[in-house]
């Protein structure tokens, strides 16, 4: 098995799975985060209907990330989850309240407000917890004998609160630009206005995280200084894409702001991976230290190579069926 580095392939697959999750659940969690700020109930109906047929598939990428980590990088699974024990509970509770709101909101008359809150608070808490996970990953974990050995609140620090808020803002941007793409009229006008503000906020978070991380983590600083010549293309691209999104919003483009926001997330994501490379469980364990048996990685890989394209195909089919602007009563039956 020396010819192919299975672990490297698995970094790619898990990386792709997590990125799919961040983009796809990102925009529907974002819709939830923005829910209380929508101009009226009709906008809220539209926003919810725009994600109702796809949210379940989107969330499945998180389960794939969880199961895939257990399969390919068990050390990550077995250290992150105990270390983030209470945060994981918040994440799951948030996702539960967000998820049940879809079915229950449209069926209730007098309790609708409660399901609105369930949807928005659930989405916000879940997004914040995910951001805190990213922050905790950058922070690193205390590990003894391949098991987490730190305290219950090690994951909660000023830095992780900041990354948590950053992800809330970022998902809100994805949700806002998605709403721009999927709606018309008053809802769209509102979403465009909100998108602009969020874009500025996301850019501000980007600058803060980009400066704070290398200052706090000498290892990250070293990576960036060593790769000076080509790595600096990331901040440059981030600035250019942000300007492109801004221009799209100004000119009333339908889809480019959403595409641009996804690109921004792609840049942040790759930037983070490069910064942390090659550590899976910082500060001590690389992806290769965290890997499962090559036999297990290979057994799953053979199926994945064949199944992931099929999953992507019917996911695309689902989005295609529900393409275009969402309209009131469109799903009535």
């Amino acid at each position: 098995m020396e010819l192919i580095d299975l672990t490297l392939i698995w970094i790619g697959i898990i990386g792709l799975g997590m990125f799919m999750y961040v983009l796809m659940d990102g925009f529907d969690l974002g819709v939830g985060i923005l829910f209380p700020f929508a101009p009226d109930d009709q906008s809220r109906d539209l926003m919810m209907m725009s994600v109702a047929p796809v949210w379940d598939g989107n969330e499945t990428w998180l389960i794939l990330a969880g199961a895939g980590l257990l399969a390919a990088f068990p050390l990550v699974y077995a250290v992150f989850l105990p270390a983030l024990y209470l945060g994981v509970f918040l994440l799951l509770a948030g996702l539960i309240f967000r998820g049940i709101a879809f079915e229950f909101r449209f069926k209730s008359n007098k309790n609708r407000r409660w399901w609105d809150r369930s949807f928005s608070i659930g989405s916000t808490v879940a997004a914040f917890a995910q951001g805190a996970v990213v922050g905790a990953y950058i922070q690193g974990f205390e590990v003894v004998d391949r098991q987490y050995a730190g305290g219950a609140f090690d994951w909660l620090s000023l830095f992780t609160v900041m990354t948590g808020l950053g992800v809330v803002t970022g998902y809100a941007l994805l949700g806002a630009t998605w709403t721009v793409m999927k709606t018309e009229g008053e809802t769209q006008t509102w979403a465009t206005r909100v998108s602009k503000r969020l874009l500025i906020a996301v850019f501000a978070f980007f600058i803060v995280v980009s400066l704070w991380t290398p200052l706090a983590k000498p290892h990250v600083m070293q990576t960036w200084l060593d790769g000076m010549q080509w790595l600096w293309i990331f901040p440059l691209l981030t600035t250019l894409v942000s300007l492109w999104v801004w221009r799209g919003l100004k000119r009333g483009h339908q889809a480019t702001p959403f595409i641009g926001s996804m690109l921004l997330f792609g840049l942040f994501y790759v930037g983070l991976l490069i910064s942390m490379w090659p550590y899976a469980v910082p500060p001590d364990f690389t992806f290769w230290d965290a890997a499962s048996d090559p036999g297990s990685q290979l057994f799953l890989l053979l199926g994945m190579l064949f199944l992931i394209p099929i999953v992507l195909m019917y996911t695309a089919f689902n989005y295609w069926v529900f393409r275009g602007k969402v309209r009131l009563g469109a799903y009535d039956h």
Partner: protein, 469 residues
């Protein structure tokens, strides 16, 4: 009192998995039922099947939603509370659970969107296809999760080196000795659960004089299915039990209340197991029948709980009683199903009001039977995480403290209480709303703007309709 993270983690896992299990066990059967209705509608074009399918899709949407959200929790429980086990068994468990996600979860979740919201957006054939894919997804999912679960009971195809499991044969590990029995037993349980709920709801409509056309059709199909499935389940359960006797005799000893290893063992019908004195009080037993059932010989030797030291035994009373609850309910299901089938063929089922009423009361029972069955098999596995290889005390997360486990346990109980309460409340409304009447065309009332309805939306005017009915 010192809070024990191991005990609290066990309670938490038992709680979240039991809560989760009741949804898929229902939706697996229900998904096939909906696919069948969609197929019949596609073939015959009859509006009866369409109305029925639309109605059960509304129910499905709520139940499936609750199954999804409680299922996500399961994907992370192994990591949060059982990280030592995760690290140890990842080489097997990780790929199997990942295969479940990519072969089943995506299939269900994605085609569910088309099934719920796409009826008017895709060709009829594509909608039927979506219904079939959701049903197929639920079946594939149960295969993988039971492959993983069966491996806990009858581990095969692995070697344990320095506390880590390494897979030596994927074929043996996945198709481990108890999988075929467990899978068949569970699949039948799912169909029976779905069938009893559909039959119960239809019977209730008939008793209340509502939706006669759709309800008669639904009841007829499900009664025939149940009359075949429930006796078959008894046979299947027996085979599963014999398989357990071969691989986990101590579990069977707890189920049967056998303390001593002996030949010509009795069949204990009733008794109060006493773990301290290693005996049953007030025992009612049929001599030699236990040996006959388990070994097919009157004098066959049956392993008792005394074959292993006390610390290797499962809690006896709960396994013993759960087993009796499951079998008792199974016998009830057979009796009612066969009676209903006989009445159906005599042409009297729809007028047998007492039988119909009994069937509507039976709706909660299959869920209790399924949970009782899970209690038997999972508690009967104790004190082992992986039977004979890894103890649960070596599986728990080392960094977990008692108060953390207690916090999330209380948290999950609170969250699920809300989910379950709201779910039951809205399910009740969907059921009271009933299928759309056949004659009415889907025109929206004048003067009321159409608003988007979720798939599970119960008509707002159901109270008015009920009052008028």
């Amino acid at each position: 009192m010192e809070l024990d993270p191991l005990l609290l983690s066990r309670i938490q896992f038992a709680f979240v998995v039991s809560f989760h299990a009741i949804f898929p066990v229902f939706t697996i059967g229900l998904a096939s039922w909906i696919a069948l209705l969609e197929f019949l509608h596609y073939r015959t074009g009859s509006p009866v099947y369409e109305k029925l399918s639309k109605f059960w899709i509304r129910v499905f949407a709520v139940v499936f939603g609750m199954g999804v959200v409680s299922g996500i929790v399961m994907a992370f429980q192994f990591g949060t509370n059982w990280s030592a086990f995760s690290l140890s068994a990842a080489n097997f468990l990780g790929p199997v659970l990942s295969y479940e996600v990519v072969t089943a979860f995506f299939l269900e979740a994605t085609f569910l969107g088309v099934l719920l919201f796409g009826r008017d957006k895709v060709p009829r054939g594509a909608h039927l296809f979506a219904a079939c894919m959701v049903a197929l997804g639920t079946m594939i999912s149960s295969f993988w999760i039971l492959a993983a679960n069966s491996w806990f009971h009858t581990p095969a195809g692995v070697e344990l080196v320095d506390g880590t499991f390494h897979v030596t044969s994927w074929l043996q590990a996945i198709f481990n000795p108890s999988l075929p029995y467990r899978f068949a037993h569970m699949a039948l349980a799912s169909f029976i659960t779905g069938g009893i709920v559909v039959a119960g709801v239809s019977a209730w409509y008939l008793v209340s004089g509502r939706n006669p056309e759709t309800s008669k059709k639904a009841l007829k199909i499900t009664v025939i299915m149940l009359a075949i499935a429930t006796p078959l389940q008894m046979v299947m359960g027996d085979l599963h039990g014999l398989n357990t006797f071969e691989h986990q005799p101590v579990k069977v000893a707890a189920m049967e209340g056998h303390w001593e290893t002996k030949s010509g063992a009795p069949l204990v019908l009733f008794g109060i197991p006493d773990e301290a004195q290693e005996t049953n009080h007030y025992e009612v037993a049929i001599p030699k029948l236990g040996s006959l059932i388990l070994t097919h010989s009157l004098d066959g030797e049956v392993t008792g709980l005394d074959s292993v030291p006390a610390e290797d035994r499962p809690p006896v009373a709960i396994v013993f009683w759960s087993f009796r609850v499951m079998v008792g309910l199974g016998v009830l299901f057979i009796a009612v199903s066969l009676t209903a089938a006989v009445q159906l063929f005599r042409g009297r089922l729809f007028d047998s009001r007492r039988l119909l009423r009994l069937m509507s009361w039976m709706i909660p029972l299959p869920f209790i039977a399924v949970l009782a069955g899970w209690f038997v098999t999972e508690i009967g596995r104790q004190p082992w995480m992986v039977y004979g290889m890894l103890r649960i005390s070596d599986a728990v997360t080392p960094s977990l403290s008692g108060w953390m486990a207690l916090t999330t346990l209380i948290g999950y109980v609170a969250v699920y209480a809300v989910v379950f309460g709201a779910g039951l409340y809205y399910l009740r409304r969907v059921v009271i709303g009933g299928p759309d009447p056949i004659e009415e065309k889907a025109a929206s009332p004048v003067g009321r703007p159409k608003r988007p309805l979720s798939a599970a939306h119960a008509p707002e005017d159901h109270d008015v309709r009920l009052a008028g009915a």
